[in-house]
């Protein structure tokens, strides 16, 4: 813990040299979860009663996912975020992207940080071709940009003729490749990558790693969440270790990953 206490001041002195792109200031994120154990079955009478009484679902719970995280990210940095499942990594990314509101504290950014991931916009019943167009538009690209990038996306995904088949016929690796190819087609100021490299064969992993390095050069700052620590070690110049919503350790990848592996 002593490590955490010293970090902010150290970081601050360093900050004045580089240009900060993302500042996270004592961030707390609380979100509501609608309970799985729904004892009353959802019929109309119950629904009406709940609406009239202005109460949410009785099983609603609040999850305090991020508990006071502060750090400053600079131009040209690639920051890896590690931690166990449920330590708040993805929540933190979403908050930086401006997709989850802060309960307390704030996230300051320049431009619009983008989460790398169009998975939610894609439809598995549609062909790869249609999904490429849909995904590009979902990320806010224009038809012109989409046409320009189309061939590149198909090439990069390396799925060949399968592009004409519905995505539901793809293997999980092929799906992941296409999704990564689509979502990395756009250039971003601040790029947030959440477990993009979990699947795919070794060759594709290498390709995507190169792509991330390339994006790191063109993007201001890259954040990377991954369970695969090798990827973090090879691509990041700084690592933040989250534990139960707080920063447990932060700094040089080898040092932090070393400590993380010892636990």
């Amino acid at each position: 813990m002593a490590d955490v206490m010293q970090k902010p001041s150290e970081e601050l002195s360093k900050m004045t040299v580089g240009t900060p792109t993302v500042i996270v200031d004592d961030l707390h994120i609380v979100y509501k979860v609608y309970g799985a154990a729904n004892k009353q079955k959802g019929n109309a009478a119950n629904a009406l009663r709940r609406i009239v009484r202005r109460q949410g679902r009785p099983e609603m719970k609040e999850v305090h996912a991020v508990r006071g995280v502060s750090f400053v990210a600079n131009h040209g940095e690639a920051i890896g975020i590690i931690g166990r499942n449920g330590s708040g990594k993805s929540t933190l990314l979403r908050a930086i992207a401006g997709l989850l509101p802060a309960h307390k504290g704030a996230v300051y950014t320049n431009g619009q940080p983008s989460l790398l991931g169009v998975n939610a916009a894609l439809m598995k019943e549609l062909t790869g071709e249609r999904n490429i167009v849909l995904g590009c538009y979902a990320m806010g690209m224009s038809p012109g940009e989409t046409r320009e990038k189309y061939d590149e996306i198909v090439d990069f995904s390396g799925i060949g003729d399968f592009i004409q088949f519905p995505m539901s016929t793809y293997s999980s690796g092929m799906g992941a490749r296409l999704r990564f190819a689509i979502s990395s087609a756009k250039t971003h100021d601040v790029l947030l990558i959440d477990e993009a490299l979990a699947t795919g064969d070794r060759e594709f992993r290498k390709k995507s790693k190169d792509r991330i390095m390339q994006m790191r050069e063109s993007a201001g700052t890259v954040f990377l969440v991954a369970h695969n620590l090798d990827v973090i070690e090879e691509t990041c110049n700084r690592v933040i270790w989250l534990h139960k919503g707080k920063i447990k350790m932060e700094g040089d990848p080898q040092e932090v990953l070393g400590a993380y592996n010892r636990v």
């Binding site: 955490v4 206490m5 902010p8 001041s9 601050l12 900050m15 900060p20 500042i23 200031d25 004592d26 707390h28 609380v30 979100y31 509501k32 959802g42 109309a44 629904a47 009406l48 709940r50 609406i51 679902r57 305090h64 508990r67 006071g68 502060s70 400053v72 979403r94 930086i96 992207a97 401006g98 997709l99 509101p101 802060a102 504290g105 704030a106 996230v107 300051y108 950014t109 320049n110 940080p113 983008s114 989460l115 991931g117 998975n119 939610a120 916009a121 439809m123 598995k124 019943e125 549609l126 249609r130 849909l134 538009y137 979902a138 990320m139 806010g140 224009s142 038809p143 519905p166 707080k246």
Partner: protein, 301 residues
């Protein structure tokens, strides 16, 4: 929610840093990530997303029907089957067809027009709550989703309008110049639907139980809208305020407007025009404003 047990420790550790971090952000011109854009800026963002809205609507239509053997033919079959059921119920069993001339055309026009509004409103109510993963993954003006759902319904309507026109011709109504006004009627109704669906999208996003309740509300609305009977005939004995309220009902107004054009070959009365235009403008402005007010809070739950 009680304060986290770490609050005190955090305050001690970060008390000084907290202040300087905000100042640092200001020095480099960094802004808070979440802020609601102004209304004109929001409209501009939406316009920039027009390609996504249309593509998303089309894709949903294609993907919805891709699993069934008859595919997109269902877009025609569903309204036809609905009309057949209602005809059996109200035309044959309850004997409405004796009072109303050309009852099949009367009924199917009502069903098609009402279904358009009903489906758009239902879709709108689910457009935010059913797309939370998309909302949590990408940044875009959230009104994109209810808009896409409304356009999806408009595309489906294209099919059912074709069916409707064929059926009206089959029942022996002549083609009329007034049919050129059909697009106007549909645009007015579409704008109204859009506003209503934006309104319902916000309700649906925060009052989750509304999706359970909505079918009942919509069915009541259906029965009150003169789809199966003629409002003027049924309300003759009622107090004038009630009669006025029933005819001012937007669904009833759009249905009557369409029947005037399609079946009765008469130019809609001024009263009908005023009602239809009023509802379109009122719903669009009100619905959009209401939706926009909660823009930064969607996807939070």
């Amino acid at each position: 929610m009680s304060q986290p047990e770490s609050a005190v420790a955090d305050a001690q550790a970060g008390g000084q840093a907290q202040e300087s971090l905000a100042a640092l952000a200001e020095r480099y011109g960094l802004r808070r990530a979440i802020a609601r854009p102004t209304l004109p800026a929001y409209l501009r963002q939406l316009w920039d997303r027009r390609h996504f809205i249309v593509t998303y609507a089309t894709s949903r239509n294609v993907s919805n029907y891709s699993e069934s053997a008859l595919g997109q033919l269902w877009q025609v079959l569903t309204p036809l089957l609905n009309a057949a059921v209602y005809w059996l119920m109200f035309g044959v069993i309850l004997g409405q067809s004796k009072h109303i001339e050309n009852y099949p055309a009367f009924l199917i026009t009502g069903v098609m027009v009402f279904t358009f509004t009903q489906r758009t409103v239902t879709g709108g109510a689910k457009s935010i709550s059913g797309n939370l993963s998309l909302i949590r993954a990408l940044h875009f003006p959230r009104a994109t989703l209810p808009l896409a759902y409304a356009i999806q319904e408009l595309q489906i309507l294209g099919w059912s309008m074709g069916v409707l026109i064929v059926l009206v011709l089959v029942t022996g109504e002549p083609i009329s110049w007034l049919w050129l006004l059909i697009p106007v009627a549909l645009v007015l109704q579409f704008v109204f639907n859009l506003g209503a669906s934006l309104f319902m999208a916000r309700i649906g996003a925060f009052v989750r139980d509304i999706t359970q309740l909505l079918p009942f509300i919509l069915r009541t609305w259906l029965y009150a809208s003169g789809v199966f009977y003629m409002i003027t005939e049924r309300t003759a004995g009622l107090p004038s305020a009630l009669r006025w309220a029933m005819e001012f009902n937007p669904a009833a107004a759009y249905i009557e407007f369409m029947r005037d054009l399609l079946i009765y070959q008469r130019f809609p009365e001024r009263w009908a025009w005023v009602t239809c235009i009023f509802w379109a403008v009122f719903a669009a402005i009100g619905g959009f404003w209401y939706f926009w007010r909660a823009e930064e809070r969607y996807g939070r739950g």
